[in-house]
Symmetry: C2
Subunit: 144 residues, 2 copies
Amino acid sequence: MNLRNTKQRQAILDAIETHGGHLTAEDVYKIVKRHHPRLSLGTVYRNLRVLAGQGTVRELDFGMAITYFETTKDTHYHLVCRICSGIVDVEMELEQKLMKLVEQASGVGGFQIENHRLDFVGICEACQVKPVQAAKQIRTLRAR
Amino acid sequence: MNLRNTKQRQAILDAIETHGGHLTAEDVYKIVKRHHPRLSLGTVYRNLRVLAGQGTVRELDFGMAITYFETTKDTHYHLVCRICSGIVDVEMELEQKLMKLVEQASGVGGFQIENHRLDFVGICEACQVKPVQAAKQIRTLRAR
DNA sequence: TCAATAATAGGAATGATTACTAATTAGTTT
DNA sequence: AAACTAATTAGTAATCATTCCTATTATTGA
């Protein structure tokens, strides 16, 4: 099953690399559709999975019933606001420190670690000020 | 909106505290239903959310289209197998180290961090041996 | 150019989770 | 203990992000 370099796949990757981080599949769909009007949402999902499998893009799951995607070109972690679901990037390089700590920990056994996910949950600056309006948003986001 | 101590809510919490970690809402439903035959799945979801809001249980989202729940009584992190979706616990206490590192990082601004999520993705011992059979499983798990 | 087959568009199906509502309860007050 | 009130429940319908299915199209290697 050799991968082919289709226009759609390339355009999807371009969209993710051009627009900073944290795009939903729907976001990508809207962006790419501008130049590929016949694009199908299924194509977006399929390619995002392919690209994630290659390690070209990273899937982000914050427990909000929706998946975000970003390029793996830059390494950073995320602050997720539990009120408005906003995402802020934190520049940090922890890879080696974390790996060292895990190796020392008990329970790892023969598990072969490939990568890790770390994110911080809390309340962003804006929501500390106006908590009420923002509160509605998360309910909507969580709904399916 | 004062919380009440219903039999169902207590039984749901008991189930999570009794059975180690990583239960799905469906798991909890089946366990509690044994003693509360008229239990509704919606009641389980609602109470899991209430308990998570209280900080009594922790929600685990590994990007597998399903949410796991566990008691917050013990602190540990998780190794998630990307083949069979199995979960292994790692005993480690990083809270303070991580918090110190984040404070030094750039981009945090006025964000008020309440807690964090850290998990490691890779391949468990079993799936390193027999990768083929296991491969099917994840597709099923990911399907909605 | 041409065959082989990966990928696509479009739409239907899936399934975890949430929403809704009438009936039931826990906790409180008389 | 009876009455009261708001929280909670059971049961079921609805939601919606994501996956699946299939006929058609496009890419690539020969």
